[in-house]
Amino acid sequence: MNITLSITKNIHNWLFSIMPEGVASITEMVLIAVVYLAIFAVAGLYLVLLERKVAAWFQLRIGPNRVGWWGLLQTMADALKLVSKELTGTVKADKFLYNLAPYFVIVSALMALAVFPFTQEFQAFDINIGILFLIAISSIGVIGILLGGWSSNNKFALIGAMRSGVQTISYELSVGLSLLTMILITGSLQLSEIVEVQKNGWLIVQGHIPAVIAFMIYMIAGTAETNRAPFDLVEAESELGAGFHTEYSGMKFAYFFLAEFINMFIIAAIATTVFFGAWLSPFGITESIPLLGVVWFLGKTLIIVFLMMWFRWTFPRLRIDQLLTLEWKYLLPLNLLNLVLMALIVWLNLTIQF
């Protein structure tokens, strides 16, 4: 029944049989990279479509429904348009950094995808410091935003970039600490092991009260990490026009745009992995059908993505000082308290396990 796994294993074996070992592993890496790139570029586009549809339903509209059945090809058409669009920029922009910035953002976003366990043993890169890797990678993206804002020689972009820096530095802490809280239960940073632990119940059930608090903090901080409303000060249409990507057009803009949605997916995927048992089904039949694990994983992720969209289309934006107040005066102290609470619970063996 191990269809997925046998395919990957077969390809692996076949590659190693026809090539010398070094070449084969490089070829395999390239192959996986291309597959991931293709899948997630398309997935990112469909997330954009989902966002637009969901926004439309919140706002009593219909949403895109012209290109393709039910508008399903709308974002493809948009991407096509963006590719064919002229790349504009300011005259006095720092050309090198200006062109580099979008790649920083999109590459860091795609890199993070490598470590997710989409289903049993279906993981491109099962690193033993998985969570740490995710946190590290996700904070590289902000460098791209800073570079883009700084180098485009636009004052709105610069303000947006500075806001982004402030925001990410602050909220990185909360994301890290809330994940750390959960790691107290698992005792491992490796994502596959985190999933393994959850076979005795999802971590949000195992950790009960502190886990729920950690999840709420993680969702707030995660939304802030992705620069989405209500924390979209970086773009803040009504204040800064378009924020850091004011001067970007065409495909370079599309990279920023796509990265935002992939980042949203990543934040939701981390939440799924750490709180909701990744590919584990709530009914415990996943063991036998690994392919179903992908469905469970994506389903849970999309529900969290939907939650983030719900936030976005309901709440007004915070002001920059309120953003920092929220982090440093509310989230951080609560998080530390929560960490202690979780430590106590783990120490006293008060976790719920099935």
């Binding site: 009504s238 204040e239 934006r317 002001r319 920059i320």
Partner: protein
């Protein structure tokens, strides 16, 4: 170490930002030259005139009937009330006796205009603070009013339904029914506005204590409408100088003493309730009768000066006509509420953040053609 010496060697310059003329938060083509220090606003200098059409000069050329339609294009969100202002000026100058029916219809449509303007403002206000969904909910309710206008007046925005001496034609037979339907609908939707935005903790934090305008400053700046009333300054023209059928209805002048953005916001929300109550008092007994009194084809105002103020959705609109007895006004000045309200923007925005500027500008409810005229 003496820190003063260290900083005195550093060169510092003001950081200017051009907000506008094309900017989502300026609601039209208004340019604000901001001097900022990081996120903090040091100075706001409005630069006007991007859509100045010289309506006052055109009025000196046009006949009094023709002037009315120009006022549609000033504050296009309360075009009916603008029309009414000019018509009242002419009617008072000619000492015409206007039928009761006209007065009542004008008041009802005027209050509907106010609700339409405030619902649009509410939607845009939400957008300015980042809640994009409010825009659609506001427009959904506003559409119904626009449909009523379209059925009766033939146009949705620039209605030009008033003429000196009455109304262009009678109301549509469906008018009363549709208006009642709208009131019933809107009474269920207005509490939703509060639940979605007003109560929201983020919104409250964004608005409370931001952009404070004291009562003395409000009077001195000539603030009117919800901006003045949010500062506790009783400036409702409908109360102090009632016109049309407004002396026959009872309504409360909404006053808030805080003077911050939230107060201005709440004044407008409450005003929608008051407007609905005014309409409810009038809609069931619109008196029968003519909708026009005969005027000469060429209206000539007697020699003299005439001033009429009305309360538009944005505040006090004054029409000041100097007539020399000819068919054109010698000089016609519109005292527009937006112009005075904009002049206090610098006062309330300095010291705040960029986000505060956007939020307080949204509560001023600026319509740029009203400022530029």
């Amino acid at each position: 170490m003496d820190t003063n010496i260290a900083t005195s060697n550093l060169k510092s310059e003001d950081y200017f930002i051009n907000m506008g003329p094309q900017h989502p938060a300026t609601h039209g083509v208004l340019r604000l030259l901001l001097t900022i220090d990081g996120e903090i606003i040091k100075k706001v200098e409005p630069d006007l005139g991007y859509i100045h059409r010289s309506i006052e000069k055109m009025c000196e050329r046009d006949s009094y009937q023709q002037i009315v339609h120009l006022t549609d294009r000033m504050d296009y969100l309360s075009s009916h009330i603008n029309n009414e202002a000019v018509c009242l000026t002419v009617e008072n100058a000619l000492q015409l006796e206007i039928p009761e029916r006209v007065k009542v219809i004008r008041t009802i449509i005027g209050e509907l205009t106010r609700i339409a303007s405030h619902t649009l403002w509410w939607g845009v206000m939400g957008m300015d603070v980042g809640a994009l969904t409010t825009y659609f909910y506001g427009f959904r309710d506003r559409e119904l009013i626009n449909d009523i206008f379209e059925e009766t007046c033939g146009a949705r925005l620039t209605m030009n339904y008033n003429i000196p001496g009455g109304l262009m034609f009678d109301i549509h037979p469906n008018f009363v029914k549709r208006t009642k339907e709208f009131i019933a609908h809107f009474k269920t939707k207005l509490p939703e506005y509060d639940r979605l935005l007003t109560g929201n903790v983020i919104f409250q934090k964004r608005m409370k204590g931001v952009g404070i305008l004291t009562k003395e400053d409000a009077i001195s700046f000539g603030a009117s409408g919800p901006v003045g009333r949010g500062s506790g300054y009783s400036c409702d023209v409908r109360k102090h100088h009632p016109y049309s059928a407004l002396d026959k209805v009872t309504f409360k002048e909404v006053l808030r003493t805080e003077g911050d953005s939230l107060a201005r916001y709440e004044v407008r929300i409450q005003e929608m309730w008051e407007s609905m109550s005014i309409i409810e008092q009038l809609i069931d007994n619109i008196p029968e009768g003519d909708v026009q009194v005969a005027t000469n084809a060429v209206i000539k105002l007697p020699k003299g000066e005439f001033y009429q103020k009305v309360e538009t959705a944005r505040g006090e609109l004054g029409v000041y006509v100097i007539s020399t007895g000819t068919k054109n006004p010698y000089r016609l000045k519109f005292r527009s509420p937006g112009f005075s309200n904009l002049s206090l923007l610098n006062h309330i925005a300095v010291g705040g953040k960029i986000g505060d500027l956007v939020a307080s500008m949204a509560t001023l409810d600026i319509v740029v053609p009203d400022i530029d005229r």
